[in-house]
Symmetry: C2
Subunit: 756 residues, 2 copies
């Protein structure tokens, strides 16, 4: 397994610094441009901007994505659109354009400071005609004010005396993977200000952006304005050898999702903006506050430390702070893949981190599911079912937006069934809602939002199950489980056992609701027709769902007939650089016992308190070797890592963990160029907390049963449980590969030292 | 004559205060509402706003006119349009709307402080349900920043405890005498800000207005916004007895004549605006600066003092400061009459004041004529003439916009010939350009602008005169002179003798140009084909224009055949309240020796250095009794006053003078409601300076030959001659009705005491 872990180890020095806070790129490598654009993505919960260079390159893949800004498109129906690019800042030195691919780079360093939320870049550049200048770029998207973005550029002349010109602009109409989505309503400028007022072509969402160019901390005029395709400002100045000049591009952005007048508001905000330094200070203070609750400190393993923080950074950068009608796409706001649609990735992989460290953000994400209930009901009705049937892929309304067909690499069209039958999404959402409630004690949210989600999806399950008279049990047929290598299957164990949990939980919830908030219970009873007969039916279903579970061995069959499929030895196919499905084809893979990601094991993780060691071990031993860990789903490794911890296999746990933790920083799956792996990032947090720290939730709060990887001398983090923080400060041994920690009960604000 | 002078004397107390700076209205008189709206007009050279009350009344006649904002309209072709109303500020006290026509007015005073350029209003009001409050309103249109307008309202509760609501708005689509000219492109608001983006329907001029409501000096939010027809803000607060609350409505306005982005610029400026107090201070300082050079101090005659200042105030308020493509309409920016078209009023009546006290403003107005030369050339060509033939009524392009037909009070349609044949406008403009040059010494302007005006209008005259072989002289037939009671006449003495002056001046000018700027002379020679033959022709024409001038008596016939018309005794028609033309009809009046305004006498004034006392006396004695002084043209009285001074008839001079000076303040002609009489206002200044102070321009600068009216103990003013200020401080006698002053030579900055 070390192939994956260390195949990029020459990069260690490149990305690591001794603080554990800085992602560093020490060399400009054009071939890695798109990967690094993903890595250096900044976000503030409102928008995300890929780490494209300010000066722009023909091959770059710039993107600014704003939560909720979808527009219609063929096949995937709707997509999160690439918003006008706010980055452009072009510098010409004596007429020569500053570019990394012309002249000579004497020194280069790019740095993402995770603690401060800032990208900076230092370039010492010799121009083609031999002038030497030093450039320091700094960029942030304010976490303190989500509508404010800023770039600062400091230019120091080493040996150049002459004219420098600086041009800042918006690129008004970027494409989203080749599709144009914007119509410019108005763009213009005055003095040192430009603005842009655009609208998405189909969804008619308006966007207003404004920018000003500040020179040496002062608004300056006159600045030349060019009105052509895009709003643009230009200023010229003379620089002398040894002189440093500082320029700032301050940008504001609003959409019609926040205000009926985004363009004007962007202008109003821009012209009343405090200085760059003041904005930066507020931004840093906001990140400080985030890290105070969400940081994980790891000592003894700098690479783990940095990569964990990187994953948390990207999740915090993507989580909507002031909007509960959007959610986090699988690629956050850092890439176009999956069209910005919302999957179970949010609820199952990302949410635990937020529920237990930033519950207000978790609440926003779950409320998105409440606001999309109408779409889920439409989907149920269209499919001939009752209640709420959530979309496998969801966007603004909650209506199903999964593409029905996709073109494979060979050019074949493949029917995608997920939107029709990957029904476990319904129970995933209920699971997340339930656990948010359990961990936060937010009764109000459960009363006003969560209950209706959990109950109306239960109504759906009631209509979805089928009575099998022969076996005298309930079947759930024609589904897809988490392992998407096998579709249109019957009685997926994950689905059926999660539905069992779902219906039981719904009944418990409704009992609580009737006691705690009888009026609300009555309203929901009326609205969803929750008559006793129905509740009894749910109980009956939950007790009679079909599962092929060999109670003697503990082995659970993934779905009916799985064990009859052809068995293969995955090791026979190594080494490879694509998934087994990519290698063998969709149809052939579906006929074999090859898993894209954990399925039964996923179930055993989610319901880990219900299954014993024997069951876990039996299924682990069976399914783990049959799973495509390297190029299957990126959702798998973290789950495997946690279960490996539970099974006391720390080395295997660490291998899975690092595969997840480095997926973006080291481009483990060779697809980081397409955007951050958000579910994997959430899984990384779960591995550290539920795996290595061995956190179990008890009625008295979270309790640690640590199992730290080799070399980790300290693991420290906080969890918020029912409005109180619990601080875990766990010590490991430097020299043992294998650790057994005692169960340690923790309490809020207390610091626990675990014995080695 | 005293009928007119004193028929309103009961108002003296009303309008006068002891400082000579304040126009005061001590009583709310609904019947005089429209007249007072004119009187309380504010302007800053960019826009004018009538003195309509902030709270609005069904019958009010609000207007905000901005220089150059014309739109197409039937009959008068183009008109200065009523811009969106920025005044509305509605106050409700415990649900009762503050209105002067409901409840009870316990105390009322409105004041126009001419020195500060501020209107204020104090009202002590008892509401219909008996609550007493005091309101203090203050309004200015900033002279320091022409795009800034402001209202402050202070509310003091005497005995009311409860809720007050304040609503501020723009009225987006006011009519211009019944015609709608605006299309709203966008209007909206955010926080305490509203804005409006409009466009004129035909001329597609854009206008942007923004306003904010400031409460106790602070921006406040939230304020309720109402989006319906108009952008509107509302705030509510609680007031206690004895408490004073202060509100400010700050407004910015731009049009596409100044910026391609008026709406955004209005917003940008608004949100970066300093406090009301700071704005007010800058505004006051600007007026202070204007008055420093343009004030006339009169001691011993408070009414003359105030009314003179009032006239100067309205001229300074109307003169464009930063725009040389507009000019001052006859009603300034205070009323709709004459559609905002530009007449000779500017050049002959208004300009001397500006040329001799604010030459930069005079230059702007004259440059307007340069920029409209193309229109004047088109007019000449269409009429079959050469050169430049200025429009009698001009707007943006200089094309003729005089209506061809007008409906009389009887409903008859009358053909208006002015646009076709009131050709003296060409020489009026040349006259003003020449005198601007002579008084300022601005050779550069004459070289770059003035010369082409004077020369190309000369080209026109050459094509317009006709050789009369019988009489062996040149005729100018089929014209209208200044006295419009007689149209389609031949050889109007005013026109012919002014043309004579014009051609002689043009020849002198071209000689100068050839010496001073030979290149420019050559360019103009080529452009206008100023061959020697042509110049010789001008000389020949100027020496041979027909004029019926009895050199024995000195009497000049106004036009060929005037003496043959029926003579009438105007005294027979007194008393009357309309013009003789209005009384007798257009056709009948034209057949009689009844003058609407001085014609031969006008000539004798303009060319006063060319005619001796005998000629002046003979023509005065003949034409003065035949002129409709009371309801003829408002352009007449000031000219008569000056000539009366020259004839040593100070009482008559004073009578004519006050008729002009009070035309708006005391509504002497009963038409002040339609707007300020701008030409009359300019005439008032000319009467004081050229009449009472007896200023004559010599080659050594202005020289005073004072002839102060009875009671004037002191007359003090400054004149700017060739870049130096000349200060005149003339003393009169308190007790004589009749004064003979010595000719006093003055020099710059010297103070002259005239002997009694």
């Amino acid at each position: 397994m070390q192939d994956l872990l260390f195949h990029n180890s020459q990069l260690d020095e490149e990305i690591l610094d001794s603080t554990g806070w800085n992602v560093i790129e020490r060399e400009f490598q054009p071939a890695k441009q798109h990967h690094k654009e993903t890595v250096f993505t900044l976000g503030n919960g409102y928008l995300g901007t890929r780490g494209t260079f300010e000066e722009g390159y023909p091959n770059d893949s710039s993107a600014t994505l704003i939560h909720g800004i979808y527009d219609d498109v063929a096949i995937t129906q709707t997509e999160l659109v690439n918003c006008p690019n706010w980055l452009p800042l072009v510098i010409k030195v004596g007429g020569e354009r500053f570019r990394l691919d012309s002249g000579e780079i004497l020194r280069y360093e790019r740095r993402l400071d995770l603690r401060l939320g800032i990208i900076s870049r230092d370039v010492s550049w010799r121009s083609p005609t031999g002038h030497t200048l030093e450039f320091h770029f700094e960029r942030f998207v304010s976490l303190a004010d989500q509508h404010v973005l800023a770039i600062r550029c400091q230019i120091t002349s080493v040996d150049f005396d002459g004219e420098v010109s600086v041009e800042v602009a918006f690129h008004s109409d970027p494409s989203t993977q080749g599709v144009k989505h914007w119509k410019t309503l108005n763009h213009n400028g005055v003095n040192n200000i430009i603005w842009l007022h655009s609208q998405t072509i189909h969804s008619t969402i308006q966007l207003g952006m404004a920018a000003k160019l500040v020179f040496e901390g002062e608004d300056i005029a006159p600045i030349q304005l060019h009105h052509a395709e895009c709003p643009k400002l230009q200023t010229n100045f003379v620089i002398q050898s040894g002189q440093t000049v500082s320029l700032e591009k301050i940008v504001t952005v609003y959409t019609s999702r926040e205000t009926p007048t985004p363009s004007e508001l962007a202008l109003i905000r821009l012209v009343t903006m405090p200085s760059y330094t003041t904005l930066l200070a507020a931004h840093i203070a906001s990140w400080e506050q985030q890290w105070h609750d969400s940081d994980i400190l790891i000592e003894g393993d700098l690479k783990a430390q940095l990569s964990v923080r990187y994953n948390l950074f990207q999740l915090l950068a993507a989580a909507p702070r002031y909007d509960d009608r959007v959610s986090i796409p699988p690629k956050t706001l850092s890439g176009f893949e999956y069209s910005g649609h919302i999957f179970w990735d949010t609820e199952i992989f990302i949410l635990p981190f937020l529920t237990l460290t930033q519950p207000a953000l978790a609440r926003n994400l779950l409320s998105y599911r409440y606001h999309t209930l109408l779409g889920a009901r439409r989907k149920a009705q269209e499919a001939g079912y009752s209640g709420a049937m959530y979309a496998w892929e969801s966007a603004t309304t909650g209506d199903e937006v999964t593409p029905r067909w996709l073109r494979t690499e060979n050019g074949d069209m493949v029917r995608i069934w997920c939107g029709d039958i990957e029904v476990h999404i319904n129970t995933d959402i209920a699971y997340a809602a339930w656990h948010y409630w359990a961990y936060t004690g937010d009764d109000q949210w459960m009363r006003d939002y969560g209950a209706e989600i959990i109950l109306d999806t239960s109504v759906f399950w009631e209509s979805r199950v089928e009575w099998n008279a022969q076996r005298e049990c309930y079947d759930i047929r024609h589904v897809i489980g988490p392992d998407e290598n096998h579709d249109r299957i019957d009685n997926n164990a994950f689905t059926n056992l999660m539905v069992k949990w779902h219906l039981q939980s719904a009944l418990a919830l409704f009992d609580w609701l009737k006691q705690a908030y009888p009026n609300v219970a009555t309203q929901l009873e009326d609205k969803l027709n929750l008559v006793n007969q129905r509740l009894e039916k749910w109980a009956e279903i939950s007790n009679n769902l079909f599962v092929n579970h060999d109670h003697e061995t503990g082995l659970i069959e993934q779905f009916e007939g799985f064990f009859d499929l052809e068995d293969v030895n995955l090791a026979d196919y190594e080494p490879r650089t694509k998934s087994m499905q990519g290698l063998l084809g969709v149809e052939a893979t579906s006929q074999k016992q090859i898993l894209k990601q954990p399925d039964v094991l996923m179930l055993l993780y989610l319901l880990r308190d219900q299954y014993n060691h024997k069951t876990l071990k039996a299924n682990w031993d069976y399914y783990n070797p049959r799973t495509d860990h390297s190029y299957g789903s990126s959702l798998g490794p973290a789950i495997n890592a946690i279960l490996a911890c539970d099974l006391n296999q720390p080395l295997e746990a660490y291998t899975h963990f690092m595969r997840a933790a480095l997926v973006d920083l080291e481009d483990v799956r060779l697809n980081a160029a397409k955007g951050v792996h958000a579910a994997s990032a959430g899984g990384v947090w779960q591995t550290v907390v539920f795996g290595f720290a061995g956190i179990r939730m008890t009625q008295f709060g979270p309790v640690a049963c640590p199992n730290l990887p080799s070399g980790w001398t300290r693991l420290k983090f906080r969890l918020k449980w029912r409005n109180e923080f619990y601080e875990f400060d766990l010590a490991g041994s430097e020299n043992t590969n294998y650790m057994q920690q005692h169960l340690v009960s923790s309490n809020h604000q207390s610091t626990i030292e675990a014995a080695a």
